[in-house]
Subunit: 176 residues, 2 copies
Amino acid sequence: MSKLEKGLIQVYTGNGKGKTSAAFGLALRATGRGLSVYVIQFIKGGFDYGELHILDKLPNITLKAFGRGKFITAKPPEKEDIKLAEEALKLAKEITEAGEHDIVILDEINVAIDLKLIKLQEVIEIIKKKPDNVEIILTGRNAPEEIINLADLVTELKDIKHPFHKGFKARKGIEY
Amino acid sequence: MSKLEKGLIQVYTGNGKGKTSAAFGLALRATGRGLSVYVIQFIKGGFDYGELHILDKLPNITLKAFGRGKFITAKPPEKEDIKLAEEALKLAKEITEAGEHDIVILDEINVAIDLKLIKLQEVIEIIKKKPDNVEIILTGRNAPEEIINLADLVTELKDIKHPFHKGFKARKGIEY
């Protein structure tokens, strides 16, 4: 059972680097206290991220990623991408409602909403119905206003300076 | 020896929650790739943070914290706080110059500069003289303009909404 007395809704959004890292850093802190963390990654499944090689070595952290390992650009989105995002959302609902994990991280869920892979209203339902002792963390750029209004803690990560603008390539171990 | 071909200067600043977590999430990713991370915490030593209970269980992450476990408000700062921050800076210089760790995280160093515990010019020297294959990550609010100018990647974390404004108390496992 969850050890938090009062779980909040946290949002990490904006165009800056570090949203997922901030959520994972928080997971690290939580697991250091014996809290239980469940991470559901929207869109990201199939990509090879450095953190995936270490997270399963940590106690009390479970991670499930849903995605096909490629960027989603099609408008309207392809059926297969919608199907995977809906599966991720279904799991998010189950895990949150069950209340057995202290923290549920919904990584890149804001992007999944923005790309119309999942319905905003269904995410709002999950948030509104969450057990009191469960903390939900939503990441991804373009967080919808409705979610920001519901959240207790919102941090915007702003890109002030980024080497990718100068054609810099993503580096293994740092950017992925 | 460092495995990065080209190490950058990253800065996480601003008044929002998640600067240290973003750096620690990055450390998690890096260690998942077999990179070596050295974390030097300015000001924070003596506080009990959740992440400290788990970081030493991770491979390739070393953490040294310097501080007295209380907030620094005195102006001018007390000698003991200056001494500890200078020790942290000395270690930062040694570890960076040695080039044996891929990533050096200087947590809250911006605050140490802002509080006049250490000299901005000495931090600039460390950055300018760093070996090519070492990545330096500087965190803390109020990053000085000179450091932002030197950095390759700067992210500002902006507090959009925070429950502390409503008198909410910090929670074990989440805020510390």
